[in-house]
């Protein structure tokens, strides 16, 4: 039942994307239909999450969908399989898409391509989160390119065209890396690798596993937009209407989904050998991004660096190859895909207002003040946000095992807290705007309220009762790692 709900939630969006692209409806009617379709998808994944949640006490944490989708002639049994973390992430992505309808109502009203792209993009993200076969994952991964191009390119200035091209080209490189990696290590080639990669007369042979690992990491880091490809991700935050970046902020789900689901399973020996190296690398990355976060001059940059900090934390948790680390990383990934769009929505509300009130006047605009306070609360990693527990678990997974990366992670925390304080009021650091008069300033409109508060309250609720989210994720993660022979 819940497997069917997941399939319905995923493929309904594809049907709607085709409908919207076909031009059968326009304007407000299309917006309403789009909202309805996304709400149905959200409800579908709510059913999946609740189904898994009910079963998690008994230890079963997966749903096998009845759909068999042959992706090519080698994989006759490609199917969808949702475990609790992927179902929770799917639900979070659907929530962001539903909220996006309200914050970007005008945009969706006037651009049919954006409506179709949103549905198509979410379909691909949900499909990639549910894919249980690497080649099926590749299909959904490839599908995200055009919606990404549309989000980054439509209504853009001339200077952004190069960004669109760069993004698309990097994406193509990631796709080809992934295809080669998945093909080379799938049937019918698996088992004959040793003789494949001879450079000249067999004198120097590239270890196939390390080559596969490099290709996989290249694909994952490009699609997640983390170092060394963070520059391209940063350009996304520079578009005219910042709310347009919110769906693109879900992209790390695909990159990390690839790592969590297929990385360790495909290359267990290589990850065990090189894992500590990458862990140290991303631990330094946390410190670097925290410094960038603290030193950022604009609100957009702060959101970008916060996203990078979170991505680095997730990477560190993943490479720790421990239950605690993976548990924390999965929780942080959920937090990241909710909080970054939330911050972008709040930022969009700020940027829409020409005149800004001073900090003293904020009390006169309660909704505005509350949204800003919530944004600061989440950016500070306070114990009332689920991000705190995720970061704690990741840091804890390093204790006693990885000595030298730990100081980088611990020392980064004050920097993040300092930067989080600055995010409390987005316009701080932009004196020209904050000094202007607050005349004509209005509190959040109804659409903005509907977009921001459900996300914010859901994050707050999960932060106050973290067991709701963290319990089933922990069960699922420990089960998955145990099946791969890893126990704490």
């Amino acid at each position: 039942m819940s497997g069917l709900a997941g399939l319905l939630g995923t493929f309904l969006l594809l049907a709607f994307a085709v409908f919207a692209g076909g031009g059968f409806s326009r304007g407000r009617a299309l917006w309403t239909l789009s909202l309805f379709a996304h709400l149905l998808a959200w409800a579908g994944f709510l059913v999946v999450v609740l189904g898994l949640y009910a079963k998690s006490a008994g230890g079963a944490a997966t749903v096998y969908s009845p759909l068999i989708l042959p992706a090519n002639q080698w994989s006759a049994a490609a199917a969808f399989l949702w475990d609790f973390p992927s179902a929770a992430l799917s639900l979070a992505a659907c929530s962001v898409a539903v909220s996006f309808h309200f914050i970007a109502r005008d945009l969706l009203d006037r651009s049919r391509a954006t409506v179709a792209s949103l549905a198509g993009y979410l379909f691909c993200i949900l499909g990639s989160l549910g894919s249980d076969h690497p080649l099926l994952f590749c299909v959904f991964f490839a599908g995200t390119m055009v919606p990404r191009m549309v989000f980054a390119g439509m209504d853009s200035h001339e200077s952004r065209i190069e960004t669109v091209k760069e993004t698309a080209f990097l994406f193509t490189v990631a796709l080809f890396s992934l295809l080669v990696c998945m093909l080379a290590f799938a049937e019918p080639f698996r088992g004959t690798l040793d003789s494949w990669f001879k450079i000249s007369g067999g004198e120097w042979v590239v270890p196939p596993g390390s080559l596969g690992l490099c290709l996989l990491l290249l694909a994952a880091s490009i699609s997640a937009g983390i170092f060394p490809f963070h520059g391209n991700a940063r350009k996304i935050f520079r578009m005219g209407e910042i709310e347009r970046a919110a769906p693109l902020a879900l992209q790390p789900l695909v990159g990390f989904g690839l790592l969590f689901r297929f990385g360790l399973a495909s290359f267990p020996r290589e990850f065990t050998t090189f894992g500590s190296f990458f862990l140290g690398f991303f631990a330094i990355g946390i410190a670097y991004c925290a410094a960038g976060f603290a030193g950022a001059r604009s609100a957009r940059d702060r959101v970008f660096w916060l996203q990078q900090v979170l991505s680095c934390f997730v990477a560190v948790g993943f490479f720790s190859l421990s239950v605690k680390g993976w548990h924390g990383a999965e929780v942080l990934l959920f937090f990241e895909c909710m909080v970054v769009p939330f911050l972008l929505f709040v930022l969009a509300c700020h940027e829409r207002r020409q005149a800004m009130p001073s900090v003293k006047e904020l009390g006169r605009y309660p909704a505005f003040a509350l949204s800003t306070a919530l944004a600061a609360l989440f950016a500070l990693f306070l114990p009332v946000s689920v991000g705190f527990y995720g970061a704690l678990l990741v840091a804890w997974s390093l204790v006693g095992r990885f000595h030298w990366p730990l100081p980088f992670v611990v020392l980064s925390m004050p920097l993040i807290a300092f930067a989080g304080v600055r995010i409390m009021y987005f316009q701080l650091g932009e004196p020209a705007k904050s000094a202007s008069s607050s005349e004509g300033f209005t509190d959040l409109r109804r659409d903005e309220l509907i977009a921001i508060f459900p996300l914010g309250l859901m994050l707050l609720f999960l932060g106050l009762i973290p067991r709701l989210l963290m319990g089933p994720i922990g069960v699922s993660v420990s089960g998955a790692l145990r099946s791969m022979g890893i126990v704490d």
Binding site: T172, L175, F176, I199
Partner: protein, 484 residues
């Protein structure tokens, strides 16, 4: 003779008969309807006989292999778009359009026969015939100096192809004892790898194909040759002509060198692979730097043909399936790309791509058709490009060579970059010269015939993309017969 060939041949006969009728309007409409009906019927016949066994119509010189029915169907499908292009374009004089449509049908027929051919002499005759048909097409489009230069270059190429082709086939016949592909293959089995005699056969057999098709080392020929020709002729030459030669060259390579008793990649297929790789890189890089749309289109499509040839050096079941599927896909999407791109350029009255910046956003229906055409080279799932790339990479992985794998992946990435560039320029860029563009919007009003052709070709693209699994399975079964 296969039924599809008979249908196209009969269509040509009827068109020829109609061309002598003095009433121009009747002739033009009649020739076009005949071409669409005949080509459509032949393409459907081929598409529905994909799963039927090979060899129903095998003669001494022609070989109806089931594996080549898909590219033949794709070739004929793409000609439907060419016929519509010829009919609606303003680049061709009205009075010459029936002749152009007639010649496009003839070119399709000759190219289809070229794919069927299993005899060296017949292949050379068909190669020369198709070159001359292209030459006549260029001549019919004559309006001024630009077309005149193109026709002159074409004449030079046709003459060289004629000399080279027949010289080569005489030489091979003397060396191998015959020009039938089976005889040459038998001869090759007795030769040492990379011996002077085997290299002589390789050069003699492939050089005419490479020359006529504009593949490395003659990769610059087609772009220079086609420069100045109308879009319809340009697309016919880049898609039908060049594509058929690519398929035929690969078929000849596999038939003669693929069945060699030696293990690994044979010298003939290796040469074809190098030609594909070098020419592909040259054309892909050339495409990136082009501002002239016709040259960009020619290089873009040519690089795709070369990239596929570069992947198919090892004739195995997987490789044969991959190559045939990828070549078939290119026929259809490249014809569609030429169809819609030409309208943008004609509307702008310029050959520069900067004149049509953002035009696809302005005219949404045409923009959608452009996206439909570009979806395949951009590897989007649901379109034939994604399974093509997947299988091409697998075919190269089968060769167990890291360097070739890296080169092929780099070439395909460059081609994707070119596709991205075309897509972003036509979709997102703001036009700097929008005031200059005074072209009528009638260019983007599609009639019933246009819609019929677009929908049938679009449906073929989507069917090949979404239902790639049964098609690939059928191809694999046919490949087993072909390779045996």
């Amino acid at each position: 003779m296969p039924l599809s060939e008979l249908i196209v041949g009969f269509t040509i006969f009827l068109q020829g008969a109609l061309l002598v009728v003095p009433r121009a309007s009747v002739v033009r409409r009649g020739v076009e309807i005949l071409a669409l009906a005949g080509l459509g019927a032949a393409a459907l016949k081929l598409a529905f006989s994909l799963g039927l066994p090979s060899g129903e119509h095998t003669f001494a010189m022609l070989d109806d292999q089931a594996i080549f029915r898909l590219p033949r169907a794709a070739l004929i499908f793409s000609s439907l778009l060419l016929v519509r292009m010829a009919s609606t374009t303003r680049e061709l004089p009205e009075g010459r359009k029936p002749e152009v449509i007639f010649l496009i049908t003839v070119l399709t027929f000759v190219c289809d026969l070229l794919i069927l051919s299993r005899h060296g002499t017949l292949s050379m005759i068909l190669l020369v015939l198709s070159t001359w048909t292209g030459f006549f097409l260029g001549g019919l489009a004559y309006r001024g100096r630009a077309e005149g230069e193109a026709v002159l270059k074409f004449w030079v190429q046709a003459s060289v192809s004629l000399t080279l082709g027949f010289g080569a086939i005489v030489m091979i016949s003397l060396v191998a004892g015959g020009a039938h592909l089976d005889i040459i293959a038998e001869y090759m089995k007795g030769q040492a790898a990379y011996s002077p005699r085997s290299l002589l056969v390789v050069i003699g057999l492939f050089l005419p194909f490479l020359m006529a098709g504009g593949f490395f080392p003659f990769h610059f020929v087609s772009i220079d040759r086609d420069h100045g020709l109308p879009w319809t002729v340009q697309t016919a030459l880049s898609v039908t002509f060049q594509g058929a030669i690519a398929v035929a060259a690969w078929k000849v390579g596999v038939s003669v060198f693929g069945q060699s008793s030696r293990e690994g990649v044979s010298e003939g297929m290796r040469v074809l692979q190098y030609c594909g790789l070098i020419g592909g890189f040259w054309l892909a890089l050339f495409a990136l730097s082009q501002v002239n749309s016709k040259r960009l289109f020619s290089a873009f499509v040519g690089a795709h043909w070369s990239a596929v040839l570069a992947a198919g050096a090892l004739p195995t079941l997987l490789s044969a399936t991959a190559i045939v599927y990828a070549l078939s896909a290119i026929f259809v999407w490249s014809a569609m790309l030429g169809f819609v791109w030409s309208r943008f350029q004609e509307w702008a009255g310029s050959e520069e791509i900067s004149a049509v910046y953002g035009a696809a956003k302005e005219f949404r229906t045409s923009g959608l058709i452009l996206l439909l055409a570009l979806a395949s080279p951009l590897c989007l799932p649901g379109f034939p490009g994604f399974p093509s790339i997947l299988h091409l990479l697998a075919a190269v992985i089968e060769q167990k060579s890291l360097s070739f794998l890296a080169l092929e992946a780099a070439l395909l990435s460059l081609l994707c970059l070119s596709g991205i560039r075309i897509g972003t320029d036509l979709l997102f860029r703001l036009s700097p010269g929008s005031t200059k563009r005074a072209g009528p919007s009638e260019f983007f009003c599609y009639g019933a015939l246009d819609w019929g052709v677009i929908l049938s070709v679009g449906a073929a693209l989507l069917t090949a993309g979404f239902f790639c699994h049964p098609i690939l399975r059928s191809l694999t079964q046919s490949a087993a017969t072909f390779l045996r």
